[in-house]
């Protein structure tokens, strides 16, 4: 086969492929397709398979994803029935129910989500306004009303989304609950205060226990010392008693005892700093007045 024939064959194949792409199309599982003729929707297809079509500009094919799509609403501030500000984020699972209505009224997934967001915000505010904050957060599970809130929002949302946009909302869920920034800060402050209270209690317990132990120790010390001092005093008294028993012999000759004691005192009080003025009559200085006459 010559080069030119080969090139011609290749060109023909490419042209055939382009023509085929203009007259047939494939609907994949999970897709919804709307075919329009001169702009007018003539048929919608949801069954997977190969279908024929007219070439552009006679017919156009609009293709949408008909699987359940997740949509996440904004984290929005709403007011509960008891006047509490709360941030709530919901999500929804939706799918295209009527492809032709969807094409006519919505046109794209992004627009559908914008429309759905408006509805979701509207019914979220309205529904949560009928429930109190304690229906959202409570240690008593019987008081929590998540299921009822989600069912109420879904019921209100479902029919309107079908009628207005041709989409089915299969479920709605509360994804997240929060509090506004300023309130969150106050909650943090309270959490800190609780912890501080607990911490101070621990510290106080420690200090009081320490004080008690110290006082008890001091008390025991004082008692010990007092007991020891008493015993010591008693022992000293015994010593004095024993000494007094020995001193009884002084009573046999009290003049002599006193004389001897006076001698002791005399000797002990005389120090280098003492100045004594004595009379010459004082023994033995009376010798200064003359020698005594001793008996023969």
């Amino acid at each position: 086969m010559s080069r030119n024939k080969l090139l011609f064959l290749g060109g023909m194949l490419v042209a055939l492929l382009l023509i085929m792409l203009q007259v047939v199309f494939i609907v994949r599982e999970g897709d919804a397709v709307v075919v329009t003729t001169f702009g007018k929707p003539v048929r919608s297809l949801s069954e997977a398979g190969l279908y024929g079509r007219g070439p552009w500009p006679v017919q156009r094919v609009y293709r949408f994803d008909q699987r359940i799509q997740s949509f996440e609403g904004p984290f929005e501030q709403v007011l509960t029935s008891d006047g509490k500000n709360v941030l709530v984020a919901l999500y929804a699972g939706w799918r295209i129910l009527e492809p032709i209505s969807f094409l006519e009224r919505v046109g794209s997934t992004e627009q559908a989500e914008r429309n759905l967001e408006g509805l979701l915000r509207n019914y979220t505010s309205a529904t949560l306004g009928r429930y109190s904050f304690s229906n959202l957060v409570n240690v008593n599970p019987d008081r929590i009303r998540f299921d009822q809130i989600e069912t109420d929002i879904l019921t209100a949302l479902k029919s309107e989304a079908e009628d207005r946009f041709g989409i089915a909302v299969d479920f709605v869920g509360i994804r997240r609950i929060g509090l506004p920034e300023s309130i969150t800060e106050r909650v943090f402050d309270r959490m800190r205060a609780e912890r501080t209270e607990l911490a101070e209690r621990y510290r106080s317990e420690g200090e009081s226990e320490a004080l008690r132990i110290r006082a008890e120790a001091d008390s025991q010390r004082e008692q010990l010392l007092a007991r020891a001092a008493a015993d010591a005093k008693r022992i000293r008294a015994e010593g004095e008693a024993e000494a007094a028993a020995s001193y009884a012999v002084f009573a046999e000759h009290p003049e002599l005892a006193l004389f001897l004691r006076r001698l002791d005192v005399l000797e002990s009080v005389m120090t280098n700093k003492t100045t004594v003025v004595l009379s010459s009559e004082t023994e033995p200085f009376d010798l200064l007045r003359g020698a005594p006459v001793l008996p023969e």
Binding site: V14, R28, E200, R203, Q220, G239, V249
Partner: protein, 625 residues
Amino acid sequence: MGKRNEKLLVVLVALSAVAFLINHLLWTQFQSVLVPALHPYLALTALLCLALWARLRFARLAEDERRDQTQARDAASPSLFQTDENEIDPVSFIFAQRQYEKWFIPFLAPVLAVIFGYWSYRLFQSGFPLDEATNLLFVASLLIGQAFVFFLFGRYFLGLSRATSDRLLRGPGNIILLTALAIALAGVAAIITELGYALPERILRLVLIGYLAWLSIEWLINTIGYLYRPKRKDEQVVTYESRITALLTDPQSWANNIAQALDYQFGFGVSETGFYRFLQRVLLPLIVVQVLLLYALSTVVVLGPEEEAIKERFGNPLAPDGTPRHLTSGLHFKWPWPFETVRRHPARRILTTHVGFTKDPNNPHPRLIVWTQPHYLEEDQFIVAQRDVNQADLEDDAAVPVNFVTVNVPIEYRVTDLYRYLYRHNDPDGMLQMAAHRVITRELARRDLIELLGDERQEAGRRLFEALQERVRDLELGIDIVFMGLHGAHPPIPVGPAFESVIGSFEERETSILQARAYRNRILPLAQAEGDELIWMARADRARRADRASAEADWFQTRRRLHEDLPGIYTPRLYLDTVQRALAPVRKYIVATSPDLEVLIFNLEEKLRPDLFDFGPGRSEDMFL
């Protein structure tokens, strides 16, 4: 020949303008992101063809004028006012051509560089517009049609340019082929985008913009080279030509260059050998066969050990009996694209996701996780209730105090029903994340923070696992939860230090108590010892007193006996001995007269000078004092 080329160039200008308009319509109607990147290529084609048309036209008319002048000069008789041959009439085509060649052609390249450099910059600045293209197959068919037409013109121009007389057609020919190539690639990219793969289209857009910028640089380099290198007298200025583009758009020149290089390297005409000619003949069929083989390979599917797949026939995954065409790991065959396609997924692998935090790409696996420092890029805060001691007294609608908690929840899951996983939900992984968020929010809203961080943590984790399992079954996600853990439950970072301070205060309490016990342990033995000391001292005192008293009694008895044995002797002697000892160290004034008759005045403030006798030996202590 000259006029035909001019007409062809005019046709090219018109064709480029029409293509530009068509593409602009395609852009406004179908929003293909690639089409704006084709605009400068079409504009460049039109501008170059227009410039070359003027150049060829001036050259042809100037040549006609020269011929007429030569004929007129030959026919006319010599006269006094005969004009000089070199003198040029300023309103002639010869003058116009010279001015065009001198002042326009050399500056065409820098002007193009500025225009298209700025255009490429603006296109790059516009980023990636949101791709909302529709009817891409129609767009592709129109683009490929355009490319084909430009290709024919380009090849024709390049063919003509091989003759020396039409050398000037080479530059526009290369640019026309470049435009054809760009448009053809855009058409192929549009088809690929229609099949669901938008990446090639985006890459091609960047390549087209980048190539335009490169052309601008090359034009500037060509101009600088032209201005500063020596030039031949009859040299034609072609600074607007691109050598890189010539290599890209004229593969025949590649082959010629390769052949010449081989001939030069081997020293003989390799390109003249039978093998080389055979290779040249079969090269194109070989490439075609390669492409066909590549297409045929789309009939073979090899699934790895972790993979499963669903085979779609014309988009339908269900067999006639209504069951999915499910493929497991191994070798499988199918009809080629577009008759059958395969959607594969690592369904046997345990997949992982997480809720409650966003990993930091710079530190995806932190090694230190503490409550007081952020360990992820972002952490979600969940509301938890607080059990109030007076809870029983609260009214039904009374708001309970709340706390915040941060939890890191890893989720491991496995695809158990690939058909549901692929076709039931548009984004099953995202839906799983949302369902997990919902389950966690609900579970934590009924928990007390301290209990959640303490003994209820395991039970809460178990309940989360069961609730999420039930939820994914309700949603028909086609997955099974393998593991869900309540990891990293902790108070938010801003209150983390307060929680740590509680632990710190607990330690402080223990420290205070232990210090007090240490004090007690220190002072009580000391007190015991001090008490013992007192007692021992008292005992010593008692013994000392008793011994002293006993000694004094003995001493008294002895002296009494001496007093009785030596009456009148012992006592006076004792007295005098004592007076002697007592008065020896002291200063004494002995008054010889009777003190009753004299008044003596002593100035005891006067410092008495010690005399030598004052420094006698000290007194021996009385042992009983």
